[in-house]
Assembly symmetry: C2
Homo-oligomer: 555 residues x 2
């Protein structure tokens, strides 16, 4: 039996488009003599559909498409992820399901048991869990069909809680001859290896071969990496598909086991490459799938965040689609303008230069009666940032270009950014990338990826500054970035207590200061642009905190 | 036995402050000869703590406080809501629990079974559900102790799904002599009656008296109304405590039943009064509990939304704490400035007047090389709004006043508002109030509450306009507000399909137009200020939709 795994880049809510893509994949598979085509979790409606799941019309359209897909099968069988009704039974109205169809009939069905409800996942909000699990018998084989979280067992690091049920183990005990897992498992930088190691452990624990098919592409904040794979019962990799690209891979089931596919054994891209690819696909899919005009606009400050964002945008959309704007003030260094033009030249993108001086003067004059006898402070700093936001949004509104936000995770974490100013934008490309990682990726792009200066070296080498007052440096207000990012990673991704962070070797006054900044800036982040998620704990829907609260980490 | 219900206004995360309030309530109860004091759900940590629940230090502090509270009990017993550990058992790490303590010992315990995971609720994210339910025997009585959702059964309207378990019914079958429910049940305009009717139905169904104690006060977006009550087994109201105010009420258990408390039978405030009280308490608690300086600033446009917001702010914080700013442009009517001053005079608040003309000119001159040969459009309109946002935020930054957003639900729904302009603010007071309800409340305030003109009648009577271009009216861009709000309510709160809304009698082209506007403006709402929730479906954490998606309601 020839089995194909296909990692499809679906669009949330685009049921018709997704079904067309599935039909095409099925037809291709049929032509090529494939016996079974396996597709990812919820491929019919795209993942995550969030509260679209509460719309009866949306569910009806999915159910109708399930029937269409079942009826479209002939000699090539199709295993696909979708949503199915719970009927009039008590509980939530639908299941997260896998349907196996062959010769126009549904020949097998499995519902998801373990419903992730942590971080960005809300599956208990929508789905009824499977009450029981049975292997599906088809073509003389007992298939142990599982969906995403079902295969993640209780021995994983960093988990939020344990489960009482072990779906794959139960299926093995009930005679499954192999385990299939269809997933919509989001990317993080560490995920490809962590996930594959987990799958290898599971295959060995169960003593069964394991077929794993994962979604690829980005939907709003979430990026999916594909990386679909097949693991032998001894833990060997029989097939490894591409990471962060659409791909299909074939494998053969013969005499009770899966044969290796030696030509399809992709290595995971290294850390910088995968970060870059993820941000590129994240930005590209955000723009393409929105159906917006494809042009983007962004402010170029001469700093590294905007330079990296412009580079990612150019890679994702093409140089004709990216408009940079440099907006010097009286506090801008000469380098901030010239570095911006150098960047634009290197990328081949257009760069406008608009001085904000006159607008800054006009705003200050309006406020003069109110601000008389006060000192220059953060109010005047933020005015500059908000004038820039106003100019960028005016260009966005006039020409339909989406404004890209250029902030990084370090500044978003501690609130070193201006609401409605440099926090403006339709998408924040670097919202989940710490400043130290922004530097590392920028260096890697020049040195390894482009092998020439794209991001101007002066931009990379000068000390970071917001340039909102004379001779300002980020380090006036913040710890050095290696210290800051170390504390932030321990607090946010590591979810360590303040005292545990101190035990890592960071000074307790710095730990306290940083954590206090993070906690009290929740109100800013609540209004931040959506950001591409590349870590295990991004700001946004996966990190939900009250704005009004009085908890302070003991230290 | 004398039983007291006390609806406490706790602060999320303020474990020490909440414990102090509980200790004081316990001491008061002891002095007054109360045998049992009943407090709301999760009173120790405040509700909802959201992802603070994932912090080990936070949980440790709650567990330690549980012990302190247990040990503080003497002759007066205490039943309180809190969080308790699940130990090393599989599943989520904690329970949402009720503890009954007496004479320094824990004499009873119940865990929540039904964990709401819909709308604003995420309880499956944090809590393990109770595996079994047993009445608590104490003082010769079998107490059926339930927590919030446990008492909401499957016959309620507008529910998201049904449950397989009926905790109160099970406790009755196991011999409970009365049902106690401790809650953190958020307010909506319809909730007080709906909840009480449900409790009456439950008491009659079970044939048992029912004691219901609910949290009061606001935490970030959520407002809790208290409205604690005691219902006899025949469905009569034995006690009805205040709505939207702190309160305590006593009742007596004698010879196997509860005696009525005739002096404590508050009526629910009528619709306008409860909306006003809810918004006032929502705003007041947001500011007070944040520990921010108590002053607020807001733009006064001469329109009804900012006038109502200023009135609510003055009621909540006092006239000295509210600063209005009127910011005329070349498109402002004369009335917009004079109505703003009249409002400020009526309220006794300060009102600054800052013309945006010169800043508008300066911004346009900066953009002239880019915008040359384009027509005046939404870009220029939004520039005005963003200059106002910049001025207001400058005042906020300079003096520490929180900016109040003055937008209403109708405009937020259809995106008739400017990101980073009139959408700016730390809190949106009217984000969950439709325009037609803004009008109704404003009229009621003048006519019934203040019984004089506070909101200038010209503000109420003139046609709504954004005044961003000559002779602009809202009705140029939107359906008339009664039509618009009718469609919006059916779509958002009613969760009806497009075709169901048409069946209510709305023209299908208007329905399609409005729904399309709602769906495509998700990106704006994702960056909106947090808003006070007063309906069953507010924008914000209770309505989660992808920004990038292609579903269109069939019509």
């Amino acid at each position: 039996m020839r089995v194909r795994l296909q990692q499809i880049n679906g669009i949330v809510g685009d049921i018709r488009g997704n079904v067309d893509a599935i039909m095409k994949a099925l037809e291709d598979a049929r032509k090529e003599g494939i016996d079974l085509l396996i597709l990812p979790e919820m491929v019919v409606c795209g993942y995550p559909p969030l509260d679209l799941m509460e719309r009866p019309s949306f569910l009806s359209a999915i159910f109708a498409s399930n029937e269409d897909l079942i009826q479209a099968t002939g000699e090539t069988a199709l295993l696909f992820g979708t949503v199915t009704p719970n009927g009039d039974h008590p509980g939530r109205p639908v299941y997260n399901s896998a349907l196996l169809a062959h010769q126009g009939k549904c020949v097998g069905k499995a519902h998801k048991t373990l419903l992730p409800t942590y971080d960005v996942f809300d599956e208990f909000r929508y789905f009824e869990p499977a009450a029981e699990r049975e292997p599906v018998e088809w073509a003389g084989i007992k298939w142990g069909i599982t969906i995403c979280e079902d295969i993640w067992n209780n021995q994983n690091e960093g988990q939020y809680h344990t489960y009482r049920t072990d779906p794959a183990g139960e299926l093995m005990e009930k005679g499954a001859e192999l385990i299939v897992n269809i997933s919509a498992s989001p990317f993080t930088l560490e995920k490809p290896e962590a996930r594959k190691n987990m799958l290898i452990r599971q295959a060995k624990r169960l003593g069964l071969p394991l077929i794993y098919c994962n979604q690829v592409g980005a939907n709003t904040e979430l990026i999916f990496d594909g990386s679909s794979t097949v693991i032998g019962s001894d833990g060997t990799s029989l097939l490894q598909m591409k990471t962060l690209e659409e791909d299909a891979g074939d494998i053969e089931w013969k005499s009770g086991s899966l044969l290796p596919n030696p030509v399809k054994q992709y290595l995971f891209p290294d850390k910088q490459e995968r970060l870059f690819k993820a941000l590129v696909i994240g930005l590209r899919d955000y723009v393409h799938k929105s159906g917006m005009p494809e042009k983007v606009v962004l402010g170029l400050s001469g700093g590294i965040d905007s330079a990296l964002t412009a580079t990612i945008a150019t890679e994702a959309l093409g140089k004709e689609q990216v408009l940079g704007v440099t907006m010097p003030s009286r506090f801008s260094s000469e380098g901030s303008v010239s570095d911006s033009h150098d960047l634009a030249n290197n990328l081949g993108i257009q760069c406008l230069e608009l001085s904000i001086k006159d607008a800054y003067t006009a705003i200050n004059e309006i406020l003069e009666p109110v601000f008389r006898d006060t000192e220059f402070d953060v109010a005047e700093e933020n005015i500059q940032s908000r004038i820039r936001g106003t100019l960028l949004m005016a260009i966005s509104n006039k020409f339909g270009h989406m404004l890209l936000n250029t902030g990084n995770k370090s500044e978003l974490a501690v609130g070193y950014c201006t609401l409605y100013g440099d926090m403006a934008g339709g998408l924040s490309v670097l919202a989940d990338v710490y400043k130290t990682d922004v530097f590392a990726l920028s260096r890697w792009l020049n040195t390894h990826y482009y092998q020439k200066e794209i991001i101007p070296w002066p931009t990379i080498n000068k000390p970071p500054s917001a340039e909102l007052r004379p001779d300002q440096k980020d380090s006036d207000s913040l710890p050095e970035y290696d210290i800051l990012d170390g504390i932030l990673k321990a607090y946010i991704e590591g979810r360590l207590t303040a005292n545990e962070i101190v035990a890592l070797g960071y000074p307790s006054d710095e730990v306290k200061r940083v954590i206090t900044m993070v906690d009290k800036n929740e109100y800013k982040r609540r209004q931040a642009a959506p950001g591409l998620r590349v870590s295990s704990k991004a700001f946004g829907s996966g990190r939900r905190l009250p704005i009004v609260q009085r908890w302070h980490e003991p230290i």
